[in-house]
């Protein structure tokens, strides 16, 4: 069965500092991987996705993620965090159709 683990429930980063959010997945075949962001009271917005090819994928708002098959990981990174990045971040894996989400990481940005 597919599963996603996001080991960090909360992360606090200073504005302007770099960010890395961890995601580990379990899936028997080639996974399709996604990162979504959710602001309070909002739906989920897609940041980036990995289907195949280059293992480093670029997304919106300056985010990137790297797929590492050997580590079953798909960590999200950003070189310089802005206060507006404070939100909940979800990693997800897809097999055929449905998405399986992790429990999320709440990002807090300190001034």
């Amino acid at each position: 069965a597919q599963s996603v683990t996001q080991p960090d429930i909360h992360i606090t980063v200073s504005e302007g500092a770099s960010l890395e959010l961890r995601c580990n997945y379990s899936y028997g075949a080639t996974p399709y991987l996604f990162w979504y962001v959710q602001s309070p009271g909002q739906g989920l917005q897609l940041l980036l996705k990995y289907f195949s090819g280059d293992t480093l994928v670029q997304g919106i708002k300056g985010f990137e993620a790297e797929f590492k098959r050997s580590q079953s990981s798909f960590n999200l990174r950003k070189p310089s965090v802005h206060w507006s990045d404070a939100a909940e971040y979800f990693c997800a894996v897809s097999g055929f159709q449905k998405l399986v989400f992790g429990t999320g990481t709440r990002l807090l940005v300190s001034p």
Partner: protein
């Protein structure tokens, strides 16, 4: 163009009441999904439609939950005899493509259901 819309945005129900949640997908999107997001959790899959056909309802937690998409566009998620454990945000998503895992799902803002 317009994104996925859901109504109502907030719903308060007394235990035992029936509720109906509506989802308007992006026009032309073939696939439609419902997810349930409990407080502090990630979304969990409920059911999936391809056009009007409900192809996967494995995530529906009980037979009190029922979803339909009769004309292949708007979908309604109905919960009968609501219980407190049904309190959650219900998210709808749609995608244009049909295929194994390569589609991108676009989410609506969700309906927050509170059962008293």
């Amino acid at each position: 163009g317009a994104g996925v819309s859901q109504s109502p945005r907030y719903k308060v129900a007394k235990r035992g009441q029936d509720v109906a949640l509506r989802c308007d997908p992006i026009s032309g999107h073939v696939s439609l999904f419902w997810y349930q997001q409990a407080l502090g959790q990630g979304p969990e899959f409920l059911t999936y439609f391809q056009n009007e056909a409900q192809l996967d309802k494995s995530g529906l937690p009980s037979d009190r939950f029922f979803a339909e998409r009769p004309e292949g566009s708007v979908s309604t998620l109905k919960i009968q005899r609501t219980q407190q454990e049904d309190s959650a945000v219900y998210l709808c998503a749609s995608s244009l493509e049909v295929g194994p895992g390569t589609h991108t799902q676009y989410f609506g803002p969700g309906t927050r259901l509170t059962v008293l």
